[in-house]
Amino acid sequence: MQATRRLALVAAVLLGMTVRVPLGGAAPPGTAPSAASSSAASEGAASRAVARFEEAEQARAEGRFAEAVRAYREALAAEPSARFAPVARARAEDLEAHAEGGFAPLLALTSARRALGSAAEPEARAAVEALARDLRGFPEGRVRAEAAVLVGEAWWRKLGDPRRAVEVLTFAAEDAAGDPLTRQLALTEASALLRERGEISAALALLERHAALSPGALAEVRRLARRGALRTASIAVLASLVVVFVFAFFGAARRLGGMRFAQRAAVRPLMVGFSLYLGGAAAVIVRLRGEGDPRPFLWLGLGVLAVSIVARTLALTSTRGRAALTAARVAVCVAGVLAAAFLSVERTDASYLASLGL
């Protein structure tokens, strides 16, 4: 009997812990709602949050950016741990970072982007022209540089006006209020465009003005500028050798009694054999190895043959002051061989020069 009573008491306590029955009338104020009502409340908040997020997405697509920001923030406040929360937060922050001018510049940029993506060329060109006119009046902020990059890329890649593209991309790179990544993109695009047009010195000047933004591009253009300078110098050396050869050949012909004798004296079989070996054997080795371009070596062999003929012709004409003239002749011919070697590589496969910093 006592055991039965104890058992009944334990059962009553357990039942009392699981069921909460109000002791007459309404619950006093300040007490927590029941589990069922709190579940209903959280479901309501989640559905409100989803609805606000969808409204925000709709507003953003339609260009009502201020409304979109408000809706994103309300959705996050209603349900901070929702699945869409990271997207909503990122979009709200992005819009707030582009809020200058009351979102009007951002609206202009978005409209132009849409027109470029979908409209025919006349409408796209009109949209780009309008944006190019308006962006100079945009307030300081990220949108101005992004709009300039959009206009620049449109003129370059879609509308075929690279000259105007350089100007506006330079404007974007020099816009101190722009996002650093946008400025860096504008700088590399502008320098790539200038390089494409052969304006290496202009590209170098632009990159040196903003060296901190894109040091990799600056190093690359410096290398190209060095290569261009060496190309000019090599062509000048070879052109000088041609002029010197013409005078020397006629001098040798006068000395030896005719052009045929001068020609026979200037072209030595051993030198011809060496030049052919220099270029031909190297080309064979490169082909055997299975990689690399043999053309630089073939052109090098021909270049060395030409320089050796010039050297031999000069030797036929020199008489007095042999040591000084010999030294000068050697220097000129060494310069000629180096010039021929550089041009033979640069004109055929310039990747060989990259390892030399050229």
Binding site: L270, G273, F274, Y277, L278, A281, A282, I285, L288, R289
Partner: protein, 101 residues
């Protein structure tokens, strides 16, 4: 000097130059581009040893032409230089085998 003697001097000089070139290339590769023992890799399709030997032969060709030209102009000088080149090539190969095998 006869043509045959000139060619022989050229070939001998080229051989000495090729040996010198191989020793130089092997030391330069060991210093700048460390790689595995060539005796193990000799059967590999793109053997570094095979390429090094080809390169040494190529530079040996330069020596052959140089010695042939010198033999035509100054045969005695060419002969003395050949003797020195052969000795130098032997020393270089021994040094390379000891220091950078």
């Amino acid at each position: 000097m006869r043509k045959l003697e000139q060619v022989a001097l050229g070939l001998a000089g080229g051989s000495a130059t090729a040996a010198l070139a191989y020793a130089f290339l092997r030391v330069a590769e060991r210093a700048l581009l460390p790689e595995a023992n060539p005796a193990i890799l000799i059967g590999v399709e793109r053997s570094a040893f095979a390429f090094r030997a080809l390169s040494a032969l190529y530079f040996g060709g330069f020596g052959a032409f140089g010695f042939a030209a010198l033999a035509l102009a100054r045969p005695l000088v060419a002969a003395r230089l050949l003797r020195a080149a052969v000795g130098l090539a032997a020393v270089a190969l021994v040094a390379q085998a000891a220091l950078a095998p």
